[in-house]
Symmetry: C2
Subunit: 374 residues, 2 copies
């Protein structure tokens, strides 16, 4: 397989840092050939977590070895706590132990946690090594592996330390998702739906008809992932360093982050994509309340997300949200509130989202009182 | 004082990341005005070390306060060990404690250690905050604060973790050097001489006549620093990410680094600039031995460095260098040796340095045997 015989290729246009996202089944088993095409003659460190290692590490290691690429394997514990200074230092140290040079590569094999952690390590070892993403969750394939944000968490908050650092190549093996727990797959799907809701109404309509096929694999899954990568790559090419338009990608995320915080970031209660699913419905309902969109749109969005097995209302969060003001408090923590106004992603309908500056906090509060109670 | 009323201004041309280096006496006392011209309305964290804090922190803090810039002060222990993961994490954490945003600034007030550490923190907090350099050693004013290299050390070696990250402004207060220990001043001067030896023979000749005035302060010091900044800025503008030409800045550093390693990086035995001084003389002598330059040039270089109070031969290192092969071992650790050949900066005479690829290791060994013995 070469770049052209992957099922789909999405080019991320960033001048001399442009790169390809290859999308299709079986790419991990052909990783060696793809990597050595883009980065001939290198050695590599594969960073992964202990779940992903069980399913996919040997495939990748063997394929790289067959292509003559010597590897060091760095396995960290699965889960968000690995996005820490301590684990970063450990990964950096292991990369240096392997005596890799600037021209060698760090490969992230895993979900968004591994991509963010390994990408940051690649950005800072020897002031920047080559970096390759091999995302193995749906969220990582459609979101975190595209766009070059890398980083770790601080006690002060998520993703507060990091770098903008682009990979040289992304291999999104759509068959690798077969080993992903169903709940993680659904959570990633919320981000797929998001791209439709931002500015691709036809894509959203297509998703409404094709969720079961996407879930079960096959060409629809590939197409959904490719279309999502294109959507994100478009936004990133317009706004690499998040000065403007990139904010659209936060559709559903203001409410979503508040819900994650209310759930104390406990994945047993709520994972990120679930928060985003509820958040997107709330954003549509709030837009309807502001007379920007029709309530029918909010109902349509909720119906599809529910059909995909995602939560779409606050019912499951009742024990964690005392009242409107507690939710508002979490929103304030996530966002800067300037003179009683918030930035928000609102919508005029499916696929017609926009950045609203100066949304009065009182409007948000009124909405939340209706939803949660005084 | 505005940019134009600093004694000298050197512009570093890097497209939309271009910035000014202001050079002159008393700039720290006017820091507030200069910073708020370039970065209006910000807050700032001042990172410094406990030596520099004693002499200059209050001046800077007060000047910033007068300009309405609120500051947090972060004081770390003086010395190379502060370029560590542990201190980096501490600095990052303190910046976040102060609730600084991406648009706020990290200010490095100190020598190269502080510049490298604080610059790296600025590069990674919120994926990149504004950064201002206020170098207070001669080495930092003429070398480390120019060019955008930032970073920390790893147990595996120096400067192995970091980022290329440019400041928005550099304030080189030439009077702040009056509190610098004489030995540190001389060590920084070795790097000034280096710029003459690379490709500015007239500058070298001017230095030969003006060392005492440079040491004692006044307009000659300002001119020497400005000319050095211009020299480094030129090289950096041509080669920001160190792909080619920037290697010329390593004149004297191959031998110098080997000597620092031989001295176990103990500053009581040898500081970096002293290693560079000896290294530059050796580079000229080695070039003469290869019939590239006249031995008179080597003698001329040694005479000036000696005049400035710098070591110029291996006499002081005898107890630390057993024989030619022990020195060669340290050179091998610093450089990649490919098929028995080394990259080296050699010279055809004063101000005529060049990058020599494939210098036979056997030639280097022969030279060292003559110097140190079998
Ligand atoms: N950089 C960005 O632009 C960006 C964007 C969105 C999210 N993120 C980050 O991404 C992270 C979330 O990513 P995620 O949802 O992929 O989480 P994750 O990396 O924790 O993966 C989720 C779980 O799935 C497991 N897993 C991964 N691939 C598997 C596979 N193929 N088979 C079986 N198990 C597998 C993992 O071990 C983990 O337990 C967060 O830290 C978030 O901040 C980053
Ligand atoms: N980033 C680069 O491009 C680059 C280039 C060269 C060197 N460096 C780095 O720079 C570091 C060396 O820098 P340095 O020589 O400035 O060392 P340094 O920062 O350790 O300063 C030397 C000593 O002088 C003290 N000091 C600083 N300013 C003073 C003042 N005005 N008055 C009194 N005391 C003062 C410091 O506290 C310290 O004890 C090394 O870590 C080296 O790797 C970086
Ligand atoms: Zn998200
Ligand atoms: Zn130096």
């Amino acid at each position: 397989m070469t770049a052209s015989d992957a099922a789909e290729t999405v080019r991320v246009e960033l001048g001399d840092r442009s790169y390809d996202i290859l999308i299709g089944p079986g790419l991990l088993g052909d990783a060696g050939r793809h990597v050595s095409t883009v980065l001939p003659g290198i050695r590599a460190a594969i960073v992964t977590d202990d779940n992903v290692a069980q399913h996919h590490l040997e495939t990748v290691r063997q394929s790289l070895a067959d292509a003559g690429i010597e590897t060091a394997e760095i396995v960290v514990p699965a889960g968000e706590p690995s996005k820490s200074f301590a684990t970063l230092q450990e990964v950096v140290s292991r990369i240096l132990d392997a005596r890799l040079e600037r021209g060698d590569a760090v490969i992230a094999l895993g979900g968004g946690v591994i991509g963010d952690l390994a990408g940051f390590a690649a950005a800072i070892v020897r002031r920047g090594m080559n970096f390759v993403q091999m995302p193995t969750t749906l969220l990582a394939q459609v979101d975190s592996s595209v766009g070059g944000k890398t980083g770790i968490n601080a006690p002060h908050g998520k993703n507060l330390v990091g770098a903008f650092y682009q990979p040289r190549l992304v291999l999104a093996d759509t068959a690798a998702l077969d080993t992903l727990p169903a709940r993680e797959f659904r959570a990633g799907y919320a981000e797929v739906v998001k791209y439709g809701l931002i500015d691709r109404p036809d894509f959203f309509a297509w998703l409404e008809g094709n969720w079961p096929a996407i879930r079960d694999g096959g060409p629809e899954r590939i197409r959904a992932i490719a279309e999502s990568c294109r959507a994100k790559a478009d936004v990133v090419a317009r706004d690499e360093r998040e000065a403007g338009d990139r904010a659209l990608l936060n559709l559903g995320h203001t409410f979503g982050h508040a819900l994650e915080a209310a759930a104390k970031y406990d994945p047993a209660i709520l994972v990120h994509g679930e928060g985003v699913a509820i958040g997107m419905v709330l954003a549509h309902e709030f837009s309807a309340r502001m007379n920007l969109a029709s309530p029918d749109d909010a109902r349509r969005v909720a119906a599809h997300l529910e059909n995909a097995g995602l939560p779409t209302n606050l019912d499951g969060m009742k024990t964690h949200l005392r009242d409107a003001d507690s939710m508002l408090g979490f929103i304030r923590q996530d966002k800067k509130v300037t003179r009683g106004a918030l930035n928000f992603i609102l919508t005029r309908g499916v696929g017609r989202s926009f950045i609203a500056k100066d949304v009065p906090e009182s409007e948000v509060r009124g909405f939340l009182v209706d939803k949660i109670g005084q």
